[in-house]
């Protein structure tokens, strides 16, 4: 599904965010991306939907050479991905309902379909009762769940979640992670960049660990900390 080959990314201001990163993620995988703050997790995700272009290296997503993709083809790529942005990126002038519906409208979906899918997605994240509110009228966690609903609504083949539970309480977090698991079981590839140790340690999935822009470990059933479950660190 995703194939990243010796990708480096140097931002215009000279920061080397990614340094010769190579990574393969298969169809239907569920991958955690962990690492310190500012280590390049978001940058890596951004490359996949071409918000940024790599300084060097090759990126293939679902058979598409993203690094070479022409500008006119970018919308089509993005419509087949679901992205939960770290800063939500909700449209302030649209209601919750409209924000979620927007992701479907851009795909040219029929309005009947929209009327059916949007309430379903809002229901999944527990926001049906806030559908007519604007993002500015929501709590942090509600905004985050709106962003998650928007990423889900199109049933994307690939779901990229950047710190999707940073503003959610543990029970909400559990619900959302279970939701992601269910989606993953239906065949969607899921990549989650997260700092939530409890989530990573409980779920025991593939963990890709970044450090200073480099992938340092890639474990099949990993913990948040290298080889250690949560309890151990806490007691240490």
């Amino acid at each position: 599904m995703i194939s990243i080959r010796s990708v480096s990314l140097i931002y215009p201001n000279g920061v080397r965010a990614l340094d010769n990163v190579s990574l393969e993620i298969g169809k239907g995988d569920f991958v955690f991306l962990v690492g310190h703050s500012g280590t390049g997790k978001s940058s890596l995700l951004r490359l996949l939907y071409k918000e940024t272009v790599p300084t060097s290296g090759e990126i293939t997503v679902d058979g598409i050479r993203v690094d070479r993709l022409k500008r006119g083809r970018i919308p089509a790529l993005r419509r087949h991905l679901g992205v939960v942005f770290q800063d939500f990126k909700l449209l302030a002038e649209k209601t919750v309902w409209e924000n979620v519906a927007f992701a479907m409208q851009v795909t040219g979906a029929h309005s009947k379909e929209i009327m059916r899918e949007v309430p379903r997605a809002l229901d999944l994240v527990g926001l049906s009762h806030k559908s007519r509110m604007f993002p500015g009228e929501l709590s942090g966690g509600e905004q985050q769940r709106t962003a998650i609903a928007r990423a889900l609504v199109n049933h994307p083949k690939l779901l990229l979640c950047d710190e999707p539970t940073g503003n959610l309480d543990p029970s909400n977090t559990t619900e959302i992670m279970e939701l992601l698991l269910r989606i993953n079981l239906k065949g969607t590839t899921v990549v989650v960049a997260t700092h939530n140790q409890a989530v990573v340690d409980r779920m025991r999935r593939r963990v890709v660990r970044l450090e200073d822009g480099k992938i340092v470990t890639d474990e099949e059933r990993g913990y948040y900390y290298l080889g250690l479950g949560q309890g151990q660190v806490l007691s240490g």
């Binding site: 919308p75 089509a76 993005r78 990126k89 909700l90 409208q105 851009v106 795909t107 029929h110 309005s111």
Partner: protein, 293 residues
């Protein structure tokens, strides 16, 4: 046809319009004011042009026959002029009347009782349709038989024609400048309203909206801004026209102000067109600016 989509799109445009009411009002106000300026200028120009041609149309050629001119010669001139398409009116003034006229014109200063003989010849007054043809018509008359002197206010005609030409050229330049100015101001305004929503545009892109999809509502918004502004402008201009015109006629009763020189519906159409067109172009370009990611 997915009517839901159409309904959604229109709803979208309307929502954007009302949710940014303050910004839209500012944009519409600016468009209105710019178009009012443009319209007022076009109107004044048309009125002045009408006034100018009125003055020029009053210019006449005085044709004096020689003292020995025959009636046949006078008739020949009359029929020639009658067949000349450039000529508007011809009026014959016998020498007697000419003297009375001269007397009246000099306000009785000339003491006609002192005259033993009438020093004036017969005369014909000729008016043409187009003041520019005065010199040619005069030259043609001069070549005919029995004609003494052919007089017209040569310098006046020349100068008025010259002035008219210069003013016409200046007028065209000013119109061009005005259109440009209106265009720049309106497009600057709409560009700023788009700029204020640059974040929204970039988010839409990240969600996978095509350039066209993002542009469409903005363009409709630009169109609405332009049309609404122009409509307000037209209303204000029409109001001013019907309020001020009678006052102007009253203040300057002797000026042949001719309101009909301005073709109302055409002007209204032009102004609406200018407003809407600039609105569309401006939002098209401004959105494009923020799409380059």
């Amino acid at each position: 046809m997915d009517w839901g989509k159409v309904k959604f799109f229109l709803g979208e445009v309307l929502r954007n319009f009302t949710r940014n009411a303050g910004m839209q009002a500012t944009a519409i106000g600016t468009v209105a004011i710019t178009i009012i300026l443009l319209g007022a200028f076009l109107f004044v120009r048309a009125t002045l042009a009408g006034l100018g041609s009125d003055i020029l149309n009053q210019i006449e050629i005085s044709v004096y026959f020689t003292n020995d001119a025959t009636t046949a010669q006078e008739d020949a001139l009359r029929s020639t002029l009658a067949h000349d398409p450039r000529v508007a009116t011809v009026q014959f003034v016998p020498r007697k009347e000419g003297l009375a006229e001269l007397r009246a014109r000099t306000n009785g200063v000339i003491d006609t009782s002192l005259l033993t003989e009438n020093p004036l010849p017969d005369k014909m007054r000729v008016r043409v349709h187009d003041p520019a043809s005065v010199p040619n018509v005069a030259a043609k008359i001069r070549k005919m038989k029995g004609i003494g002197n052919v007089v017209y206010p040569q310098t006046v005609v020349e100068r008025l024609l010259q002035l008219g030409g210069v003013l016409r050229r200046i007028g065209l330049v000013v119109i061009a400048v005005f259109l440009l100015v209106a265009g720049i101001i309106i497009s600057n305004t709409i560009r700023l309203t788009v700029f204020a929503r640059r974040r929204e545009i970039s988010i839409m892109q990240l969600v996978g909206a095509t350039h066209m999809y993002i542009r469409a509502p903005f363009i409709c918004e630009g169109l609405l801004d332009g049309l609404a502004g122009s409509l307000i402008a037209v209303a204000v201009l029409a109001g001013a026209r019907y309020m001020l015109w009678p006052k102007l006629l009253l203040a300057l009763p002797w000026v042949q102000l001719n309101a009909s020189v301005v073709n109302g519906p055409v002007l209204v159409g032009q102004l609406l067109l200018v407003g809407g067109f600039i609105g569309v172009i401006a939002s098209w370009i401004s959105v494009g600016r923020h799409l380059r990611t």
